[in-house]
């Protein structure tokens, strides 16, 4: 299988006052194409720092990170921006949509910074991505006219639109109620089934049951890294939930 992400002994230190904080103390793992990996850990375990590394928002103090075969550590800020644009799709906990902007324009955003995509192609791809996440009927709704679940779907469409090597989700269901969380998980599982590589960072152990592999961090080191032999279906879980009582 093709290696999408390869971490080789990644360390990341921060200077806080006179002290050096070791946020990551030598992390190594490889993620292949088509994996759905959850990364778990309590707060302070180095989850966020690792996510920043994976998302090329930050560079390691030592070690090497290969994203789709490209070494990231010595890249300049500008080069990393272009790399993010082409290879990574982010999904954030609080959606981070542009305010008062339509769904299509929000999804178009990553392609706006890719000058090899024409305006016509950009819109077509945005519409296709929105249709993929089930928002084909809400293309021109503005972000402030949508529910949390819809906003997160727009955010996922935005992460899909540049056809990234990996989708990085940071607590993507953290702000949603149980039902909507499962709906989003169903979407992620569908994307996984289509062969997408997904990394889902969360502190919710339940979610690990729906992924193909689970990595647990503790104090900047990997505590556990194992495949999930019994992947649960989020669609089944959703069906098992009690029906919403308020019919509307």
């Amino acid at each position: 299988m093709k290696k999408v992400i390869e971490l080789i002994n990644i360390k990341r230190n921060f200077q806080v006052g006179d002290e050096v904080v070791h946020a990551l103390r030598g992390i190594s793992f490889t993620i292949c194409e088509g994996e759905f990996v959850t990364i778990m850990g309590t707060s302070g375990s180095g989850k966020s720092t690792l996510l920043n590394q994976l998302g090329c928002l930050d560079t390691p103090t030592s070690g090497e990170y290969l994203l789709d075969g490209v070494p990231v550590r010595r890249m300049k800020r500008r080069e990393r921006a272009v790399l993010r644009n082409r290879k990574i799709g982010f999904v954030f906990q609080n959606y981070n949509l542009l305010p008062k902007t339509t769904a299509v324009e929000n999804v178009e955003l990553p392609l706006m910074y890719n000058s090899s995509v024409s305006a016509r192609e950009r819109t077509q791809r945005a519409i296709r991505a929105l249709e993929r996440v089930g928002l084909g009927s809400r293309l021109y709704h503005k972000s402030n006219q949508m529910s949390g679940g819809q906003m997160q779907r727009v955010a996922i469409a935005r992460a899909l639109v540049n056809d990234p090597a990996v989708i990085l989700a940071d607590e993507a269901t953290g702000n949603l109620d149980t039902r909507t969380s499962f709906e989003i998980l169903v979407l992620f599982q569908e994307l996984h089934a289509e062969g997408r590589t997904i990394i889902f960072v969360t502190h919710n152990p339940e979610i690990a049951q729906y992924s193909s592999r689970n990595i647990v961090l503790r104090d900047g080191q990997i505590k556990e890294d194992k495949l999930n032999p019994h992947i649960l279906s989020a669609a089944d879980a959703l069906a098992a939930l009690p029906k919403p009582t308020d019919e509307d």
Partner: protein, 417 residues
């Protein structure tokens, strides 16, 4: 490869414009408030300049109505305001022979007329009015750009014989013929001299000093010199140069001829003074220019304040939009993209503000003209200038906030609350 790069570059600039435009559209009220300063600034620059230019033009128009090519020769040396008073005999240095000399010898002149005046009461039947009697030659009409409303000008023959005829101004005509009778052919009396009215001048109204330009009576200079005043000297010679450009040459020529005729030595001062209408125009322009400059300064200050307004809002908006900037960076915007976006936003705001300001300024100028009846003139360069200043303002005041936005750390920006 080269052409592809170029095409990509073009496209990315087009995208940046689109991004900036969307960001502005998403915050309409804030954008409008930002532009307000620029709108007011530009509108006031244009209005002030329009008023300044308008008054300048109206002064110029009045002066050229009086004859912009006009040259006036007066006896005696003008010592300037507050100088020593002139000798009585210095007032008599211009003689009729000087006029005749200039009439035959002076180059660059289109028309020439001597001038002697007498003030006094004009009487006709029960009506009388104080006015000034000017003794002149028919050329005077050309020089002062006067036109006849009725009747005709007296002739050179009238001048030769010293005929007792006159041409009267509108005010005099109204005062002496209050019931609307035709003045032509009637006789009016100046002191003891009866003068037959042969023409009435077209009205010119008041000049910019508030003088009634219609309150005058013209008669042949021979008549005034011999029959009214009994003098041999002239109060002045008025002439007009062929063109405005030749005024200076004409003045020099007149000076040379007069010095020769007055037998002045090289060391002697002129015993006459030559003034041109142009000089007067320049003097008055200086005043109106000063006023325009002052108004412009005030307007420029408001433009700068508008610019600071833009900087202020852009600066606040960088903080307010930190999260947005973080998001843009995380989906692949480079520092330069963010910088360009904010800069383009600032320039767009100031240029749009500029356009609205131009419209308001033109509107205000028209309104001032319509309501206050002030003369206005909108100079195309004032529009271009304020436009250029606007764009410069946008870049200048947009740069710092844009730079600040571009230097944000994406990790911190995206988690900013």
């Amino acid at each position: 490869m080269k052409t592809k790069e170029l095409k990509d570059k073009k496209m990315s600039i087009a995208n940046l414009f689109k991004i900036a435009l969307r960001a502005i559209a998403a915050n309409k009220l804030r954008s409008f408030l930002t532009m307000l300063g620029i709108i007011i600034g530009v509108a006031s620059v244009i209005t002030m300049l329009a008023i300044g230019q308008g008054s300048k033009r109206s002064i110029q128009a009045q002066i050229s109505e009086m004859g912009s090519n006009m040259i006036m020769v007066r006896p005696g040396q003008d010592k300037g305001p507050g100088g020593a008073r002139q000798d009585a005999d210095e007032m008599q240095t211009l003689k009729l022979k000087d006029y005749e000399l200039l009439k035959t010898n002076a180059k660059y002149l289109a028309a020439i007329s001597p001038s002697v005046n007498a003030s006094g009461q004009f009487v006709r039947g029960n009506n009388n009015t104080p006015s000034t009697l000017y003794g002149i030659s028919p050329d005077y009409l050309t020089i002062r750009q006067l036109k006849l409303d009725d009747g005709e000008m007296f002739t050179d023959e009238d001048v030769r014989v010293g005929a007792k005829v006159c041409v009267i101004g509108k005010t005099v005509a109204d005062n002496l013929f209050p019931n609307g009778e035709d003045p032509i052919g009637q006789v009016v009396r100046f002191t003891t001299i009866p003068l037959r009215v042969v023409g009435v001048l077209e009205s010119k109204g008041y000049n910019s000093f508030g003088m009634d330009q219609d309150d005058l009576v013209l008669a042949p200079y021979t008549t005034v010199m011999k029959r009214v005043l009994a003098v041999t000297y002239l109060e002045g010679i008025n002439c007009s140069a062929v063109t405005e450009d030749m005024t200076d040459l004409a003045i020099e020529d007149i000076a040379t001829l007069l010095r020769e005729s007055h037998k002045l030595k090289a060391t002697d001062e002129d015993n006459f003074t030559i003034r041109s209408q142009q000089e007067m125009a320049e003097m008055m322009n200086t005043t109106s220019d000063l006023m325009t400059t002052l108004l412009l300064c005030v307007a420029c200050i408001s433009l700068i304040v508008g610019g600071i307004g833009i900087m202020n809002i852009m600066y606040v908006s960088v903080t307010e939009r930190t999260k947005e900037i973080g998001l843009r960076m995380s989906v692949g915007a480079r520092g330069i993209d963010i910088l360009s976006q904010f800069l383009i936003e600032a320039v767009m705001l100031s240029v749009t503000g500029g356009i609205i300001g131009v419209l308001f300024g033109v509107g205000a100028s028209v309104a001032v003209n319509a309501l206050a009846h002030w003369p206005v003139f909108i100079q195309p360069w004032s529009v271009i200038l304020s436009f250029a200043v606007c764009t410069a303002t946008g870049v200048f005041f947009g740069w710092y906030p844009a730079k600040k936005a571009a230097q944000l750390d994406p990790i911190e920006a995206i988690r900013y609350e």
